[in-house]
């Protein structure tokens, strides 16, 4: 039937590969897959690796900041645009412009902008504010935040579009009712509209988490994981080890742990989907 291609892809490619990854993680494969099993050694090595833990900690920080930032800024922009402004089309287009660029390009540009010697800090200091500091990208304790900045810059447009579409679906009579009730606009957004947008928030959350989980290009182009490995992310850790370090087994172990994390994160969504379908009935 029509589902066969997609199901083949799902079963063979997604799940087959996940299992393969798990199997490899139990071997001592280096550059190429070899099937000599060593039990959970790779996991022991993985969990003893400081860089891995930094990466895991970073994905939490980055995920929180990036997803949070996209949601907050995307929603705010959508609200501003939804207030019935002129030139709406222009603003919308501008905000979606970065979407057309790849993460590599985004990373390169922002590396310039945030480079203290070249970019913003330098430019502001030249304007006369000589104590201005914006050197996060070179600070081990701050570099991870720059990833979120660049990521938000790129994805905020998509979030804005999703939220805007959601806002447009709100019954205009709700607005009338709240005006008659004399409720200030910001409170309407806070108490009435925002709770109504739950599914949109959910969609945005899922899309953005998928991006966080796969974040590789952006790190490479922006910070290269540095200074040191302070802005490393699991996807980069895994790819580095699989492709550049002859540590296929270790990389696979990392990948498998990452995938388990993914499943833990999205299983609420899956649950939500299933439950909604069951309750939904006629809708």
């Amino acid at each position: 039937m029509a589902l066969i291609p997609a199901m083949t892809i799902t079963i063979v490619c997604f799940y087959g590969f996940i299992i393969w990854t798990f199997v490899i993680s139990l071997t001592r494969s280096r550059l190429l897959p070899v099937y000599k099993f060593t039990g959970f050694d790779q996991y022991v090595r993985l969990f003893a690796n400081e860089r891995w833990w930094t990466a895991m900690q970073n994905i939490a920080i980055h995920g929180f900041l990036f997803i949070g930032g996209c949601i907050v800024f995307g929603y705010l922009l959508a609200i501003l645009i939804d207030r019935g402004i002129k030139a709406e089309g222009m603003f919308r287009t501008v905000f979606m412009l970065p979407l057309s660029m790849s993460f590599i390009v985004t990373g390169v540009i922002w590396q310039w902008v945030m480079n203290p010697g070249l970019g913003l800090q330098d430019a502001v200091r030249e304007l006369g504010w000589t104590t201005f500091e914006f050197n996060w990208i070179v600070r081990q304790d701050r570099a991870i935040y720059t990833l979120a900045i660049a990521g938000i810059w790129q994805q905020v447009g998509l979030c804005m579009a999703l939220f805007l579409a959601g806002l447009r679906n709100v019954d205009p009579n709700i607005w009338k009712a709240s005006r008659v009730d004399g409720i200030p606009v910001w409170r309407v957004y806070l108490h009435v509209i925002t709770p109504m947008m739950r599914t949109v928030f959910f969609t945005v959350f899922i899309l953005m988490s998928a991006i966080v989980m796969k974040a590789y290009d952006l790190v490479v182009a922006l910070t290269g994981g540095g200074p040191g490995f302070s802005s490393d992310l699991p996807a980069k850790f895994v790819v580095d080890h699989i492709l550049n370090r002859q540590e296929l087994g270790l990389g696979a172990a990392g990948a498998f742990v990452l995938l388990c994390t993914v499943i833990a994160v999205i299983s609420p969504y899956i649950h939500f989907e299933l439950r909604k379908a069951r309750d939904g009935g006629g809708h």
Partner: protein
Amino acid sequence: MNGVELRGVTKAYAGLTVMKDINLEIEDGAFLVLLGPSGCGKSTILNMIAGLEPVTGGSIHIAGRDVTELEPDERDIAMVFQSYALYPTMSVRRNIGFGLKMRGMPKADIEKRVDDIGELLQITPLLDRKPSQLSGGQQQRVAIGRALVREPSVFLFDEPLSNLDAKLRADMRVELKRLHERLGRTIVYVTHDQIEAMTLATKVVVLDKGSIQQADTPENVYRRPANRFVASFVGAPTMNFIDGKLVQVGDGIAFDGGSGQLPLVDLPGRARELIGCPMTLGARPEHLVFDDFGANARVLLAEPTGPDQYVRLAVAGAEVTARTGPEQHFSSGSDARIMIDGARVSLFDPESGQAVL
């Protein structure tokens, strides 16, 4: 002194005039129904009264105060929408109390007011549900509760019952009527259902294409429609119209539809002046009576509805509907004799459509 007055109100959207010079006075405690076909401007008038749409010209007064420039919440009004517009994520209790909370009323007072309203509208057991867990009629009640709780001087209703099924609509109609009698507040009510207009209103305003066609008591609107539009819009089945002229037949007057004459018994005396002029006769179905001395007619179709029977007839070259009791059986194609109650007919100028009698 909580009446509403519209003085020379006009409204244009992007240069296109949709309301022309509306003058309307709504007395304190009135139940005014705005009736008209879709797109005639009923909601626009309501929104202008509420302050949700600015007027293009003219002014609006509520309780003697010029409110033309005020915000909706400063106008001392409350509004109920066709789609209810309940806040979907809040419980019924919060829906009703939200406006009060925003005004900074203390929590305990809000609770009390909401409880009172809940009792009044018999929705106490529903107070902790979400709107999506309510039936249409219950949602409707909550929407009314949300309006009531603020105790405004004027209530505005925009087709509040049109989403309900027939039976529930009938029940809610009675409830609204009682509510109005009990509260004695001014109500402006939009509908396109004549039964609602007839049963609820103390005054009906019939609108068409952005202007007032007739503003009068329901009875007069039904009995003495100001023009052909009002006549055809109000009443179901609709009024029968026959083009022709009045003729003198012996002692009495009859209506000549071209291919046959209809005797009009009890026609008011001044109708004599109109004899000979081209004319449109308007007669409601219930005023067509089967009578052996009436004009010849042929039965086309009989529709028994339970308490009544609608009979479509061909008479005097026109097709008309008569309403009668369910007892008599009419078979399609059979002959009948029909008489029109002359005291109840309307006569319209065929050119302008204005009532001449």
